[in-house]
């Protein structure tokens, strides 16, 4: 072996070895906690807000955090899925604000729930996700949420009352409890007909193929 090729061989071997060790540690981690670090594979929490055809055979459950960039990334993907399968797929959304990491996640969830009290849950859900980068950087986004509520034609007083209501707080804490029971570790976490979607699909086509497989298996299931 020439002196010029030796360093390249060492580099390739080291990268392969490092990858092997990292994969081994990853597998070891999962095995040692019995998969406790990963979401449960059978989850049907119920109680979330439903978007789409309520009698659709495929239920896509999402545990989301409005301030989480990945959730913002998946928001248009989920919308596109619902557009592609209007009669086959419904979304069941649950709040899972990672409050220690995202200072405004809980306030955003409360704003969406408060809008829901006036029948504009999904409208606010869309506005909050679509403007995530805008309000996330504010020291206090409350006035921004109020502005969104005004744009949606909501009654400002009722909106503020709802935001501060125990009922809204309870609905969110119930969702967090459901998420904890489902061993949701990060956001977004998706379940399709109760099965965790892992790893997260890279785009809408990959997500659609998972939905296709779920529809196929639900068609084959004994009735």
């Amino acid at each position: 072996m020439s002196n010029k090729t030796k360093p390249i061989v060492v580099i390739v071997l080291a990268v392969v070895l490092a990858a092997g060790i990292a994969v081994y540690l990853g597998l070891q981690t999962s095995a040692s906690n019995g998969g406790a670090g990963k979401p449960s594979t059978e989850v049907n929490p119920g109680g979330g807000h439903i978007r789409g055809n309520a009698s659709a055979p495929v239920t896509l459950v999402e545990f989301g955090d409005y301030q989480c960039p990945s959730c913002g990334f998946y928001h248009p993907i989920v919308d596109e899925l619902l557009r592609r399968y209007p009669d086959k797929v419904k979304l069941e959304f649950h709040h899972y604000p990672l409050v220690t990491a995202h200072a405004h996640a809980l306030a955003a969830a409360m704003a969406v729930e408060a809008a829901g009290d006036q029948g504009k849950y999904w409208e606010m859900h869309d506005v909050i996700y679509n403007h995530q980068k805008e309000w996330s950087i504010l020291p206090n986004p409350e006035s921004q949420f109020l502005a969104y509520a005004a744009e949606l034609g909501l009654d400002a007083n009722k909106f503020m009352q709802s935001v501060k209501s125990i009922d809204v707080e309870k609905r969110i804490s119930d969702d967090i409890k459901r998420g904890s029971e489902a061993k949701v570790g990060g956001t977004p976490t998706f379940f399709i007909n109760g099965h965790a979607v892992e790893p997260l699909p890279s785009g809408v086509d990959e997500f659609a193929s998972i939905v296709d497989a779920a529809m196929k298996s639900s068609n084959q299931a004994p009735k």
Partner: protein, 140 residues
């Protein structure tokens, strides 16, 4: 000089494992027995830049440093120049490490043990590459 390049190789190799592990485990709840705040940090808005995970950027950094350091071991004549390359890579890496340390402590209010390990690796690489003249004097 060769010893220094070897030391950088070892640290960069450990960094590669750390960054690869975090890249593979992305989106999964990782165990956090030492610092307790890994998942808060790893799912925060600061864990990625324009959708690219920081762990992947770290992996590219460690691979680059490792590769240059390996050439430094085999090409003794070019070692000083190669070490300078590592320094110019490690300098922004060290600054970013300080920023990330600040974000963990004062913005996210949680520390991630894997990120702290990476901070230690980057700092060590930076320090090892920072004084090429001193090394020449030792050689002389």
């Amino acid at each position: 000089m060769k010893q220094r390049a070897t030391a950088i190789c070892v640290v960069a190799f450990l960094g590669m494992i750390d960054a690869l592990y975090l890249t593979i485990m992305r989106g999964v709840h990782v165990p956090c027995t030492l610092s307790g705040g890994c998942n808060e940090v790893l799912t925060s808005a600061y864990a990625e830049v324009y959708g690219v995970p920081l762990s992947l950027i770290g992996l590219i950094f460690y691979m680059a440093v490792f590769s240059i350091a390996v050439f430094g071991i085999f090409e003794a004549a070019a070692a000083v120049g190669l070490l300078r390359w590592i320094f110019w890579l490690a300098l922004p890496g060290f600054v970013i490490t300080l920023v990330l340390f600040y974000l963990q402590g004062f913005v996210i209010h949680h520390f991630c043990q894997y990120c702290l390990a990476s901070a230690a690796f980057v700092t060590t690489i930076f320090l090892l590459s920072a004084w090429p003249r001193g090394s020449r004097q030792i050689q002389a």
